[in-house]
C-alpha cells in the first residue's frame, strides 16, 4: 500500500511539473517559428562547465563586433578574471576605454581610463542615441540575452547563423534583414558575423563564422549565468548527499515501523 501511494504521489508531482512545462514552453516557442538546430555546448548537462578558451575568444568577438551596438551593462571588467584573463590583461582592457567620472573638487565632470571595477562601456549614452544610430531599432543589452530568449545559447547560435535571402513573395521593410529564426523573420540587425576571418584569433583557432558564433554564444552564456559551474557542481554534491541521507532516513523509518506493520 505505501509503495503504491508513493508511486501515486510521484506521478502527481511529475504530472504537475510536466504540465507546467507543457503549458508554458510551446507557447513561447510558437513565437519563434522554426525549430532551432541543436548545438552541443560544454556547459550543457549535469556536469557542464565553461570552455574558457572559447569564452575568451567569444569576448573578443563581442568586443570587436557586437560591442559597436550592444551594451552589457551588468558586467564589470573585473568579471573577466573568471574567464582566465590575468589581472594585467583585465586592467589593460578596462583602461582601453574612457569613462566619464566626477564631479571633481572643482565641480567638473572629467574623463579617465577605465578601471576593473567599472561596468562594461556602453556604445551609446542612452536609448534615444542607440535608436537614432540604428534606424529606430534598439540593440538589446546582451548581459542576460541567453536567459531572456527561449532556447538560450541555442537561440543565439541559430539567430546568428539564420540569415538568408527572403523567400519569394516576402517583401522586407526598408533596412530590415531576413532571419529564419527571428520572430516575424524581419530583423533590423544586419548579419553581424558574415565572413570567415572577420575576427583575428590569436590562439590559432580558425575564425570561421560557425566558430565565432559558437564562441560568442559561449561567452554570452557565461555573462548571463556566471554562477553556472558552481551551481551545477554544488547540485551534483547536493543530490548525492540527499540520496544517501534519504537511504538512512528510509532505513530508520523501516526500523521504527517494524513493530507496527
Amino acid at each position: 500500500m505505501p509503495v503504491k501511494a508513493t508511486l501515486k504521489a510521484v506521478v502527481v508531482a511529475a504530472g504537475l511539473l510536466a504540465g507546467a512545462g507543457l503549458g508554458t514552453l510551446p507557447a513561447r516557442a510558437a513565437s519563434g517559428g522554426e525549430a532551432l538546430p541543436h548545438v552541443n555546448f560544454s556547459f550543457d548537462g549535469l556536469f557542464g562547465h565553461f570552455d574558457r578558451a572559447s569564452a575568451q575568444r567569444g569576448f573578443q568577438v563581442y568586443k570587436e563586433v557586437c560591442a559597436n551596438c550592444h551594451s552589457m551593462h551588468l558586467l564589470s571588467y573585473r568579471n573577466l578574471r573568471e574567464l582566465g584573463l590575468s589581472e594585467a590583461q583585465v586592467r589593460g582592457i578596462a583602461a582601453s576605454v574612457q569613462v566619464k567620472d566626477g564631479p571633481n573638487d572643482e565641480g567638473e565632470m572629467f574623463e579617465r581610463p577605465g578601471r576593473p571595477s567599472d561596468r562594461f562601456h556602453s556604445p551609446f549614452p542612452n536609448e534615444q542615441a542607440a535608436r537614432a544610430a540604428n534606424n529606430g531599432a534598439l540593440p538589446p543589452d546582451l548581459s542576460l540575452i541567453t536567459k531572456a530568449r527561449e532556447g538560450g545559447a541555442q537561440y543565439v547560435h541559430a539567430l546568428l547563423t539564420g540569415y538568408e535571402d527572403p523567400p519569394p513573395g516576402v517583401t522586407l521593410m526598408p533596412g530590415m534583414n531576413y532571419n529564419k529564426y527571428f520572430a516575424g523573420h524581419q530583423i533590423a540587425m544586419a548579419q553581424p558575423l558574415s565572413s570567415d576571418g572577420q575576427v583575428e584569433y590569436t590562439d590559432g583557432t580558425q575564425p570561421t563564422v560557425e566558430q565565432m558564433v559558437r564562441d560568442v554564444s559561449q561567452f554570452l552564456t557565461w555573462a548571463a549565468e556566471p554562477e553556472l559551474e558552481q551551481r551545477k557542481a554544488m547540485g551534483v554534491k547536493m543530490v548525492i548527499f540527499l540520496v544517501i541521507l534519504g537511504g538512512f532516513a528510509y532505513a530508520i523509518k523501516r526500523k521504527v515501523w517494524s513493530d507496527v506493520h
Binding site: P2, G15, T24, A27, L74, A148, R149, V239, V260
Partner: protein, 423 residues
C-alpha cells in the same frame, strides 16, 4: 502544587522551571510527541509537513533577499541581478526562493488533492479545510506580488493584466484599480506597496497556518480509510512514527527541489522576465506563472470580462462550501466507486485547464478550456450533491487496525505503549 504553576514532568530542572511557568515543552510533547495519529497514513500525508517546511524556507530566503533588494522601478531589476552576481550565494538564495514558490504550489496542490480524494474536508474538519483555502488564497496573492518584484517584462505586464481584472467590477471597478496601483498605471507606487505586502503576507499565512494546525489537533487527522480511530489500537504516537515517515518524504522533496534549483533554475519561469520592464513594449503572450494557469484558463474561457473574473474567483470560492456540497457521509473515495471516477475526471480537467492557460487564446484551446471549466464547476455543483444520494458506497471497514493488520484479531499493543524506547 505551587499556586498556578503547571505540574511539569520534564526531567531537566532548568527546562522544568520554564515548563512550569510556560508549558510549551508539555504542549510540544502533547501535540507532536504523543499526539495519537492514525496508523494507516500513506505518503500523501507528508505534504502538510512539507508545506510547513516550504513556508519556512520561503521566509528565510526572502528575509535575506530583502536585505539586498531595492523596490524602485529604476533599480529593482538591476538590484536582483546584483544579488545574482555579486552577493555571496545570492544566486542560490534567489533560485531557492523563486523555485520555492513553484515547489510550494506543487506541494499544496498535492495536499489539496489529498483532501479531495480522502474527504478531509468533511465533518468535523470543515473549518480546518476552510482555513486551508484561506492559506491557498493568501499564497496566491503573495506569489503574484513576489513575481512583480524583479520588475521584468512579465512582472510588469502580469501585474497590469491581473490588477486590471478588478476594473470589471461594475461602478467601483476603475476606482479600485487606481487605488491598487497608487496612481494611473502600474508604476513605482505599485511596486512599493507590492513589496511591502509581499513581506507582510507570509507572516499572515504563518498565523493562519497556526490556526490550521490548531484546528487539526482538535479533530485529529483524517486517514486513507476516512473512518475515525476507535481506540489506541488504531493510532500511533506522532513521534517517532510520523517524524520518521515525514523525514523520508522531506528528503524526497528536497531532492526534487535541488534538481530544480541546481539544474533547471529557470525552467518554470518565463524568459521575458529577464528583460527589464518596459511600459511601451507589450510581450507577445502575457502568461502568468504556471501555478495560476488553470485559473487563468477559466478566466479566458468566458467571453465576458466580468463573467470571467467572477468564475475565476468562484473556482476557488467554491472550495469554501465544498464540505456542504458533498452530501455523502463517506469520506474516502476508496469506498465511493462512482465519485472516484468523477473526481479523477476533475483532476484531468484541472490539468487540461493548466495546459490551455499556457496556450494563446485561440482555437481549439478556447473550446477545450470551456469544456474543462464547465466540468470543474459541474463536479462541485451538480455531481457531488447528487452522488451523495444516488451512489451506493462500498462497505466501510470495521476499524483502522483491522485492514492494516492482516487477519485482524487482538493487537500486540505492547510495542506501542512505550514508543520512545525503540529508536
Amino acid at each position: 502544587m505551587a499556586s498556578g504553576l503547571h505540574e511539569s514532568d520534564v526531567a531537566n530542572p532548568v527546562l522544568r522551571w520554564i515548563d512550569a511557568r510556560l508549558p510549551v515543552i508539555t504542549m510540544m510533547q502533547k501535540e507532536y510527541g504523543t499526539f495519537p495519529t492514525p496508523r494507516n497514513f500513506n505518503y500523501f500525508w507528508n505534504f502538510g509537513a512539507l508545506a510547513m517546511v516550504n513556508l519556512l524556507i520561503m521566509i528565510a530566503t526572502g528575509v535575506f533577499l530583502a536585505m539586498n533588494y531595492t523596490p524602485h522601478t529604476s533599480m529593482a531589476f538591476d538590484s536582483v541581478e546584483r544579488i545574482m552576481r555579486d552577493v555571496n550565494f545570492g544566486w542560490l538564495l534567489r533560485y531557492v526562493h523563486a523555485n520555492g514558490a513553484s515547489m510550494f504550489f506543487i506541494v499544496v496542490y498535492i495536499h489539496i488533492w489529498r483532501g479531495l480524494y480522502y474527504g478531509s474536508y468533511k465533518a468535523p474538519r470543515e473549518l480546518l479545510w476552510m482555513l486551508g483555502v484561506v492559506i491557498f488564497l493568501l499564497m496566491m496573492a503573495t506569489a503574484f506580488m513576489g513575481y512583480v518584484l524583479p520588475w521584468g517584462q512579465m512582472s510588469f505586464w502580469g501585474a497590469t493584466v491581473i490588477t486590471n481584472l478588478f476594473s470589471a467590477l461594475p461602478l467601483i471597478g476603475p476606482d479600485i484599480v487606481t487605488w491598487l496601483w497608487g496612481g494611473f498605471s502600474v508604476d513605482n507606487p505599485t511596486l512599493n506597496r507590492f513589496y511591502s505586502l509581499h513581506y507582510l503576507l507570509p507572516f499572515v499565512i504563518f498565523g493562519v497556518v497556526f490556526l490550521h494546525v490548531a484546528a487539526l489537533h482538535i479533530t485529529g487527522s483524517n486517514n486513507p480509510l476516512g473512518i475515525d480511530p476507535k481506540g489506541p489500537q488504531d493510532t500511533v504516537p506522532f513521534h517517532p512514527y510520523y517524524t520518521a515517515k515525514d523525514s523520508v518524504g522531506l528528503i524526497a522533496y528536497f531532492v526534487v527541489f535541488a534538481i530544480l534549483v541546481f539544474f533547471f533554475p529557470n525552467m518554470l519561469g518565463h524568459p521575458d522576465n529577464y528583460i527589464p520592464a518596459n511600459p511601451l513594449v507589450t510581450p507577445a503572450h502575457i502568461v502568468p506563472e504556471w501555478y495560476f494557469l488553470p485559473f487563468y484558463a477559466i478566466l479566458r474561457a468566458v467571453p465576458d470580462k466580468l463573467g470571467g473574473v467572477a468564475l475565476m474567483f468562484g473556482s476557488i470560492a467554491i472550495l469554501f462550501v465544498l464540505p456542504w456540497l458533498d452530501t455523502s457521509p463517506v469520506r474516502s473515495m476508496r469506498f465511493r466507486p462512482v465519485a472516484k471516477i468523477f473526481l479523477f475526471l476533475w483532476l484531468i480537467a484541472f490539468f487540461v485547464l493548466l495546459y490551455c492557460g499556457g496556450k494563446p487564446p485561440e482555437e481549439p484551446f478556447v473550446t477545450i478550456a470551456r469544456v474543462a471549466a464547465a466540468y470543474y464547476f459541474l463536479y462541485f455543483l451538480v455531481i457531488l450533491p447528487l452522488l451523495g444520494r444516488l451512489e451506493r458506497p462500498l462497505p466501510l471497514p470495521e476499524s483502522i487496525a483491522r485492514p492494516v493488520l492482516r487477519g485482524g484479531g487482538p493487537l500486540p499493543v505492547g510495542a506501542m505503549s512505550k514508543p520512545m524506547e525503540k529508536a
